[in-house]
Assembly symmetry: C6
Homo-oligomer: 266 residues x 6
């Protein structure tokens, strides 16, 4: 099973488009300037690595609340680089791996990357990769140390590598003394204002102008005008749910309101 | 033994009717509106997953006191979906499994589910599945992290999956940082009022109207009119026990009273 | 050795009379009404399980001070049931077993029980079975979780099972969150009053009426009339020791007094 | 090596005289009534087990300060029993054994004992056998639980067994909840008074009456007449050392004084 | 994989020039007297070891903030020694090694060194080599003890060895009781003054005199004249980044300012 | 590798002269009466063991500050005994050994010793042998318990054994409850007074009388006349270093001063 898993990691030298594509199910909505800035910043780092006379290793961590779009943005940056080697490392592909197997898999991915002149590695959900659980606390020391070491390991001559990592647990990474080993951090925000929410609704194409106004004012009524503070993923799932309801507007308003109130279902 | 256990997990693509049936030994009694609402809510989530243009992954956790009917309701929802793949994952089928074997079994179940266009997985008693013991506290980190990852793992294209999990330990799941990875939660209540108890007795067909009145007034006498607050499972076992007694009414009253007073035997 | 041990567990479908018999070395003395009541209660649970239309699974825990007769009473109930499958699970037969081997042995015993229409399983000294040591505290999580799961696992159709467990550590079982998974608890008392002690002495046939009076009044003299509070096992061993002494009465009085004073030797 | 070790445990049915003899290098000195009483008490327990109509299992723990003679006395009692099976279980023969190997060795010794109609097992230095270290604290749970279980396990029919165990750590055994599983305890004292010391010196045959007086008065001078409180083992080694010195008396006095003052060398 | 890894450690008797060269990507800038002094001190230790009548074993630890140039300076000293055996031991080459494998690798490196009359071993990032993580704290006891022992192990006759180790965690090494096993410590400083920064900029050849002045005054404006306190590695990476910007001066000023303010990206 | 290591332990019956010789690189300097006394005390214990009618087992622990000469003195005593079996047990020869392998090696050494009529075993750096690290604290329980047991295990008939152990961690050994299992302790001091330092310098033959005076007065100037308190090992290394400097006196003074001030390099 482990051997199979290793085999499945095909594109030794190529691009894991399908896997990355799954991270961007709904594309990227431009609901605020932040999104633009984040993508620009990512492009800047990629260009820096691309230059043959510059540092051959850069690592960037995207952090933000659950569902804010960290994985989608990391995947987008990776694909936009058009580097010949792009690979996604995700806990989802390591279910049932021992600590050592995870480390071997990580090491293998980096060795593969070193074979390409230009490489991107996306490491998704680091806190899950290191088996973080707040009780104890517990985590995989082996995977953590391997990550620390690999983040600082210079590629061989004429090989250049950029790493994008994602996490919801910025402060955990700090406690684990791995956060400051990244060269840069990018903060990914929730959809926070009514204006931003409106832009998401508009770009979704699901609401007429009137419906949109009605929904937003209903939400305002229910929440007393509180800030939104909901991840783009929940909002897009909510729109989808609402579309299946005859009272799309009312349904969307309720779903959003409970999401705003707490960590409810959308 | 482990290999056998894996083999026994037959219905790779099919429905585990027998196993689910065992969860609903006495059927579903409609002793309050809550029961209806719970089943409706379950149906709603199932319908959402069924729609091909909607989110392909939903997870719902049913929590409530011991014996309140969580497993029965989850099994009912699963069977009512009529999805081609329905599977029950239960600690009962994993006695003697190592942590890794549990993870492999879980992973296998999910992989099997991904082969069907529409799937339901019922994960019973998560707190036992992760070997939770309050002293320490101790739990299986491997199983916990595997569950976390699998709850968020998108199925492949054209595959749609809904997960129902049950637990008596809502706050433990919160501490373990897995509770908020469910898309929705459903709270399953005890039988709480005399009215609800009466409806259970009536639907059981074991009491004449008169007996029912006598029993309830006896219970009131003994408990001083306290709220019932007993799980449906204990009540139905109690009725069964009472039916074997010549003084069915008196016996049932005593059994119920001690159940109300504390966690006694029924 | 482990394989042998597994083989020794012969009566897949039959009664472990010899093993149970060893638990009742001196028979059952009726030194107080409690003994009668306890045996009645046990019979009642057994009859309930026997009825084909009733709940097919019941579990009862006998708890009480060391040597109070828990194992003997559990064995008596089991043998009185005359069920076709009766099995004793004891840490004594698992010396040198790993945690996993214990779990496998437990699981096997339950699987064997499920093959018989009516089964009793006696689980002796649960706190030792789970390797409980108060320092740490330490215990075997694997065995504990296996027990929890097996206590709640419904037998297959037309199979009915009753479980009797014994322990000196009621509160430990509560802390370990396994106590409330039993359907019923039975409290086994020490020999507490002079009257009860007298009845034990009488039923032992070792003392003339006069000797009995002398012994008891000597004990009263030494202990200042304190309550007895000694387990039946210690008393019966003490009588045996005394019978080998020329001054049987004096010896018995001393032995009892030191047992009463503290946990001395009898 | 482990297999060899198992093989070396020859006398499956016989007496380990040589091993026991090594424990009684200097024989038993009768320096106080206590010694007599201890040996009597041991003989009494042995006789009780010998009687076919009495309890077939007795366990006795000898505890006392380091070097007070616990092992020697246990060995003496065992040899005096003249039981056909006598075996010494000592950590010295288990260096390099894993926890499991120790348990298997223990279990094997008991199984061998059960083959003889009358058996003695001496378990030396229980606190070392369970790998006790106060820091942590740490100890071998497996060995501890195995000991607990074996101490309470009834031999088969017509088999009778007495167990003598030794320890310097009475309170540790209490904390570990194994102390009260012994049927009896025997406290082994140091050589405590000048009178007792004099008797040891006399029985050693190393001192003339005059030398003895001089030595004791020198010791009194140095220690200011403090109580002796030294184990018999240290005193006998001290006499041996002194015998090699031209100034035997002065040397013995110094050696004793420093032993009295603290845990020095003798 | 592990075997391969062992094989890759070729130069059993030779110089690992390439690996060491990677540590000195930008050469050594002489931005302050400290640099000279450090290299002199290193040379002095090397010369001492070189002398056949002197101590055949010396160990030196270089400690300082992240990116201050510890690895580069250690590599420089090693290469300048022109000893026939020079070897770099780095966690980067041990990703996926078990504790034991790391110890075997370390041991092997030292054994190889003992074969050469004069040897240098550079041990990079000791805190990572021992898997140090502050939470817990956790670390590899096996690797730590092996390092302690190897640091004090005299080479065989006519073999002479100097060890350079690097670390960012001086106080951790003290807590782990390994720091004081080094014969000497060398403290490696950040670039701390504007003057030092200016010398770095000048030696980089990237700035005209005017640009340099402008950049420094801009930095002063932004930071309010705070001390620099940035590692040479970050500064050199920053210059490289700035060179790719049209507004090189402004860019460099911003990059430096954020590095000064905190642990930002350069 | 482990097998090789075992093989290398050749002199089953013979003397490990080379290994012991390495411990006494500079011979023994007689810089104070203490040295004489220590060696005398060692000789006394050896003579006691030599006598056939005396105790056949003695164990002595040498403790003192780092570099004070513990290993050299233990080696000297061992070699001076001229016993037919002399063996050095050192953590240096056990790098990469598992706990169990260390125990097996220890056990083997003792078994080998038991084959010789007279044996010395030197156990160097016990605290490292048991993998002691103050954080946690951590240590190898297996090795510790094996040492405890072996220290008290009587050799077979006509076999006599003395054990010398060294440690810098007297109080740790006390906490671990192994210190008081030694029959005797010897405290090894630093070079503490100017007079002692002068004698070391003189015996080294490196200084003219004048140079010696100048050096000592310079040291006095720098340290303000503080006590020396430096281990002989550091002083002798310091003299060696100074000899390579043209300004031998000044250099030695500086080296000594910093050693006196703290645990600096010499
Ligand atoms: N501006 C945006 N930024 C990111 N994602 C967007 C944006 N607009 C739309 N999306 C969509 O929203 C979803 C974001 O989900 P994603 O899994 O990336 O969030 P996440 O923060 O990684 O969640 P988690 O915390 O669960 O890992 C994606 O499906 C993506 O296509
Ligand atoms: N309205 C109802 N809801 C749930 N179960 C019902 C209802 N009416 C009757 N039942 C019966 O009650 C029993 C409920 O037991 P179930 O095992 O589902 O409870 P549970 O909450 O899962 O218990 P546990 O906490 O032990 O896991 C089932 O046998 C079911 O057939
Ligand atoms: N009324 C009685 N109840 C129980 N045991 C009795 C009674 N009368 C006599 N006995 C005898 O007393 C002994 C009770 O010992 P038993 O081992 O059952 O006690 P226990 O409570 O299980 O001890 P432990 O705490 O050590 O497990 C048995 O030998 C049994 O034959
Ligand atoms: N009255 C006595 N009781 C016990 N031992 C005696 C007595 N007289 C002489 N001896 C001798 O003293 C020695 C006692 O040593 P022994 O090893 O039995 O002590 P111990 O208490 O077991 O020591 P430890 O605490 O190290 O296990 C034996 O050699 C024994 O022959
Ligand atoms: N004076 C100098 N001292 C050290 N390195 C210098 C100096 N001048 C230029 N450099 C360059 O600066 C870089 C220093 O990086 P290096 O990896 O040695 O730092 P480090 O302190 O080991 O970092 P880390 O804390 O990440 O291990 C090297 O590339 C080296 O070529
Ligand atoms: N009087 C002396 N006592 C001991 N060693 C001496 C003496 N005079 C000279 N020496 C030399 O000093 C050195 C002492 O070093 P040694 O390794 O024995 O110290 P140590 O206390 O064991 O050190 P560590 O604490 O590192 O184990 C040896 O090389 C020895 O030859
Ligand atoms: Mg994500
Ligand atoms: Mg349930
Ligand atoms: Mg019992
Ligand atoms: Mg002893
Ligand atoms: Mg470095
Ligand atoms: Mg030493």
């Amino acid at each position: 099973d482990f051997m199979n898993a290793l085999d499945e990691v095909k594109p030794l030298f190529g691009v894991a488009e399908e896997e990355l594509g799954k991270c961007i199910r709904w594309g990227i909505f431009h609901f605020s300037n932040h999104i633009e800035n984040i993508l620009d910043e990512g492009g800047l780092y990629i260009n820096q690595v691309r230059k043959p006379d510059s540092t051959p290793l850069l690592s960037v961590v995207l952090h933000g609340p659950p569902g804010s779009g960290k994985s989608a943005l990391a995947a987008k940056m990776a694909m936009d680089s058009e580097f010949p080697f792009i690979k996604l490392v995700s806990p989802e592909d390591m279910v049932g791996f021992s600590e050592m197997q995870k480390v071997i898999q990580l090491d293998k991915t980096f060795r593969d990357a070193y074979k390409s002149p230009l490489s991107v590695i996306v490491i998704d959900n680091i806190e899950l990769l290191v088996d973080w659980v707040p009780i104890g606390p517990r985590f995989s020391n082996q995977v953590l140390v391997a990550l620390k070491v690999l983040l600082g390991k210079q590629p061989p001559k004429n090989r250049r590598l950029i790493i994008f990592a994602t996490t919801t647990e910025r402060s955990v990474l700090q406690q684990l003394d791995i956060f400051n080993r990244f060269d840069a951090e990018i903060s990914v925000p929730n959809v926070n204002t009514q204006n931003e929410l409106a832009r998401v609704m508009q770009q979704s194409g699901a609401f007429s102008d009137e419906d949109q106004h009605r929904a937003i004012s209903e939400i305002q009524d229910i929440t007393g005008g509180a800030d939104i503070g909901v991840g783009i993923k929940k909002i897009l799932t909510g729109i989808e749910t609402a579309k299946q309801d005859q009272d799309m507007v009312g349904r969307f308003a309720r779903v959003m309101s409970s999401a705003i109130a707490a960590r409810g279902y959308i």
